[in-house]
Symmetry: C2
Subunit: 195 residues, 2 copies
């Protein structure tokens, strides 16, 4: 059983190695630069090895995306508001910071269309965790409103800002005001200060 175990362990390590390499390549030069040949060279194996671990290139991207969701969830959980700051703002800033610092990873997670099951099927736990953190951040300001729908609005707004910013389609001048306005609008009653 020991050799079997060793093999499985080595296999798992290489599995993760491929994911990390793909992510590194993407973060460095964008997903267009992630080709099976380059990826194989980076992990120092031939291309077919990739296909013994993943069904295809899409599956590799998907694996990167799911791990990214886990990272986002962790980041959001860690993002506690500082003095006087609302939890909503802390979450929003952490989210946008993540999207700005890991653009390729964010792309794989939420922009590139993939057949990750988002519906009623078995959604990856990492995804549920990340969304759960957003729900928790929205909860304090929900008022009488539907919590899940309101979180979807919050998430959509952040996602829109993140993607349009990355495409340089929004004016950097408004970066601060924009977030203030969004948080103020979502918070019940107070339209002035988006603390």
């Amino acid at each position: 059983m020991s050799i079997q175990n060793r093999r499985e362990r080595e296999r798992a390590e290489r599995h993760q190695l491929i994911i990390d390499a793909a992510r590194d390549l993407a973060e460095a030069d964008g997903w267009d630069a992630v080709t099976t040949r380059r990826l194989a060279e980076k992990v120092e194996y031939s291309q077919p090895v990739l296909y013994s671990h993943f069904k295809g290139k899409d599956a590799i991207v998907r694996a990167v995306a799911i791990q990214g969701c886990g990272e986002l969830a962790r980041l959001l959980r860690k993002a506690r508001p500082s003095r006087g700051e609302s939890r909503l703002r802390a979450a929003a800033e952490a989210y946008l910071e993540f999207a700005r610092r890991r653009p390729a990873l964010y792309d794989a997670m939420f922009v590139q269309q993939s057949d990750i099951p988002w519906g009623t099927d078995e959604v990856p736990q990492e995804l549920l965790d990340a969304f759960g953190e957003l729900v928790a951040a929205v909860e304090p300001v929900r008022g009488e409103r539907d919590l899940e729908a309101l979180t979807e609005v919050f998430w959509s707004s952040l996602h829109g800002i993140a993607t349009l910013m990355q495409g340089k389609r929004l004016r950097p001048v408004h970066d601060v005001t924009r977030l203030d306005l969004l948080l103020g609008a979502l918070s019940l009653g107070q339209h002035e200060d988006g603390l």
Copy 2:
């Protein structure tokens, strides 16, 4: 001069023919299916002809995107609110309807990264028109808030909803509530009815 004119006219017609063909192909089977070979076959010319009109495939996509912006601007201008409906809601619904009915076109316009100059450079007029329509829709609810920044928030939210919906990442159950919540939040004071 007449022959020269005729040639230029024919050239312009073919230019538009290529754009239309690309758009049709994309709307039918997605941008992945838009290859230079298929496109050339559809316009009944060989591939090099495409390159005598456009610098490359990206330029063709960009041309489609810009014309799409013009179409969106036209649609938004036409979207007048019906009785009791706010202008904001009319614009939001028209925007989301556009994104839902022309997913590939929307993709080329706002999702795919292209080097369309969005900054201070010479932005295509179609783009300014579309954004201007959004500004006009936001104006009635601006209150004391910065109009341009608030419009960016509005646009970002719509964009986020549109793209996440297309990726099936939002629950269709909340479609109505979600939009109500967004409009209610952006409209000053009233969080209940987002008329």
